[in-house]
Symmetry: none
Subunit: 470 residues, 2 copies
């Protein structure tokens, strides 16, 4: 359908003063029209395509001006209703007032864009509230009194460590012994502890994947470690590049984040060889290993050499990040070092959630929940491929909660801008690149976290994505 | 009915090595999993249909593998109960078996002495399991989906901050605004954050009470701060001794730990004067302010000057240390510094306990619970005084969960030895002394945590104490 100014919009006269940048001029002219009331609140603006054609300028220039004014609060953009003058387009509150109000509006859905495909979150609407409550009832009924006291064991409750040992062996091929499982408050806590271990070992450098999460790299750097990027390709991280300069390597073998490839057997073997030769540690971030779709399950790298690999898992993707629950399976020889490094944070990890998760796993509810979510995510993934697969390459989709959409060269930034215009939060591949990593040649892409939207938001979010793509 | 993995089954990771026949590979993988114990005896396997779908192989292949392993005795198959791993006698490895028994004895009551009057713990048998579960049900029902995601606000959930603001103002006389409440995982987490604030302010020295908890002092020292003891007498800490050398002072005004006195109005005023004059901070540890018996409630020092005092409270005494829940009420000008210092530990604090405690407070269950526990503890205190009050001086008993028993000069060590002989864990006053603090003149004493025993252990514990006293 051709969206036309004549059909939807108000006719609009804009003075684009020459001598300023076109975009700045357009932005200022639109802002002034909204501020002065010349454009009434609720007025629908022409589409960027239409206005661009009308003004004889590039569509991106218009899209960027719109995005800026949306960010400033002068305009609103909603899928299906276009870009409109905001209801209360007026000077924003002073900074202090804005800060004071911020906490009341805690929900990201209310402060951020209307739609989000930012990776890293499961569908929070899928949290199994009733089953979790049943597990909490069982946990509260069965818990011995001493469970409510100060933790007697720095590894965490034995009930959960036993349940996890069974689950991880069965579902992820991890060599797990409850004695060597250390519970923590999510992956970042585990990585904090391990950074402490490395620092105590006087390690200076940790190898990381060339593309990954900056919060992980930043945590290592804050702990006084240098991070060195490994190359990445279709077989995963180039573990053959590992040298004795690194005391550890942080890997996502089951489903590289963000590129989505599984580390090949040869690359796994190279990592283990490196660890055996140099005494280095492999930190295995198995963040979404539960979710696999079309392929043979990719077992944990830890199974190859439990003496060299620290396995890190979390309930953040399978259940909810808000639980703050994670676990490490630690090599026998490393347990004391890990517990020593954990000591300054032994105040973390409430006991009731530990007992509840233990009951949740042993009752079979965890398997049922993962199974159910897997079906939901698989359906979304299929719908994502159906919606955009003919226009962009879609990869990294055999597992997990995210996919990579390959874009025509040089279009990543403009796609992100046009996503912002669709009121869609979206991350480009580039933002995950280690500052010292060589950019993947000619790889413009966006990383789509299709687990993030709620079920009700999924369709409009997908439509917003489709509209943002070239 | 469709038999599905989601309904029945366990999630199962199997390595199917390529290059062998699929059926042979599957059979061997399952046999190995059963043999090694990775699949425990009795574990129910997925139906052949489900496993086949999951592995992407023909159902017959799975059925044949199952049949072969049933024939070999590794699995059993019964109509109506599915296919399970057979019960088989496996030789136990001695070392592993010994290790496997250790974690069963996690409770301090089972590893330590039979009786304990070590202070610092409430009666864990008093945890309100049923009321807590009701609150959890309400919390799980009412929580918005976004609550399960990554925390949107580093201060913690607004629901709990609102509930606490009301409670603390009403019950403790705290000037509390939800905007300035920062939730944390118990007192030690709060003190960790505040130590970070002080370090960022380049503070070198923190004044502490001459007698107190070594874990608190050690935490400050690990954070690079020096601790300097204040004298203590019947009016509490000698706050008149504070100088500009200290950037902060850590106090227990409502009920000094361990001596049990309340900080007098004059000493409170001196502390606030010092803070105003030097710009120093007062850190108020209100660890058991809820429990008072014979006297007018002693309000929080924070009420005197909310701009100079950081109030720290915790659910560790009123509910259970295992919850790992605490809160800080922060002066307005300090909020940004506190949140910056908290950032490296923002992974702590699970959301479900926060929402549950909020529901627990707003329903009135918290007040009811504290009132009920206050009666129990008061009865114990009266029984303690009745049992030993004619032989030793009992002080610090107007509030809290502990009392100080004054002993004849020079007998503290022999009483502790005789307590050990009674199988009673007991702490002397001397162990709480700051290494640089002047010993209280002629003060031999033991610190009796009468909240610690369970109801059933209370009588024999009291008898053991009576037997240990001179």
């Amino acid at each position: 359908m051709t969206e036309s100014w004549a059909t939807f919009g108000a006719d609009l006269h804009l003075d684009l003063t020459a001598g300023r940048g076109l975009r700045a001029g357009l932005t200022e002219a639109l802002r002034e029209a909204a501020r002065s009331g010349r454009l009434a609140a609720g007025t629908r603006l022409p589409s960027s395509r239409t206005l661009a054609a009308d003004l004889g300028i590039a569509r991106n220039t218009v899209a960027e001006a719109y995005a800026e004014l949306v960010a400033e609060g002068w305009l609103t953009a909603r899928q299906g209703s276009g870009t409109r003058v905001a209801e209360r387009a007026r000077p924003r509150r002073p900074a202090a007032a804005a800060r004071a109000r911020r906490p009341v509006r805690t929900g990201p859905a209310r402060t951020g864009p209307a739609y989000s495909l930012v990776p890293g979150s499961p569908d929070l609407g899928g949290f199994p509230r009733a089953a979790w409550l049943s597990a909490a009832r069982r946990a509260l009924t069965d818990a011995p009194n001493e469970a409510f006291g100060y933790a007697a064991d720095p590894r965490g409750r034995i009930e959960l460590r036993r349940a996890l040992a069974g689950y991880l062996a069965r579902a992820r091929g991890v060599h797990a012994d409850p004695e060597r499982i250390v519970l923590c408050a999510g992956f970042l806590h585990g990585l904090t502890v391990l950074a402490g271990v490395l620092r105590a070992r006087r390690v200076r450098e940790v190898a990381v994947e060339g593309y990954g999460l900056d919060v992980h790299r930043d945590l290592l750097v804050r702990a006084g470690l240098r991070t060195r990027p490994l190359g990445l390709d279709g077989e995963g991280a180039r573990t053959g590049e590992l040298t004795s300069a690194a005391g550890a390597v942080l890997l996502t073998p089951a489903h590289q984040f963000p590129t989505g490839v599984a580390l090949t057997p040869a690359r796994r073997a190279a990592a283990v060889d490196w660890a055996r030769t140099t005494g280095g540690l492999i930190l295995e971030d198995d963040y979404d290993g539960e979710f696999r779709y079309d392929r043979q399950p990719v077992g944990a790298l830890q199974g190859l050499d439990p003496d060299r690999v620290v396995y890190l898992g979390t309930a953040g993707k399978s259940l909810a990040p808000g639980l703050r629950m994670g676990w490490m399976v630690v090599p026998p020889g490393l347990l004391e070092e890990v517990l020593a490094a954990k000591r300054p944070t032994d105040w973390a990890c409430g006991v009731l959630d530990q007992l509840t998760l233990a009951a949740f796993i042993t009752s079979g509810a965890y398997d049922r929940h993962v199974r159910g979510m897997r079906l939901r995510y698989r359906r979304r993934r299929d719908e994502l491929v159906a919606a955009v697969g003919d226009r962009v390459g879609v990869s990294g989709i055999a597992a997990g909660l995210h996919a990579v959409l390959d874009l025509p060269g040089g279009t990543e930034r403009s796609v992100l801008q046009s996503a912002a215009w669709q009121d869609l939060a979206l991350h480009g591949l580039e933002r995950f690149r280690h500052p010292e990593a060589v950019a993947l040649p000619g790889r413009d892409a966006v990383v789509v976290g299709y687990g993030t939207p709620s079920d009700s938001a999924w369709s409009p979010t997908l439509a917003a994505l489709a509209a943002a793509l070239p």
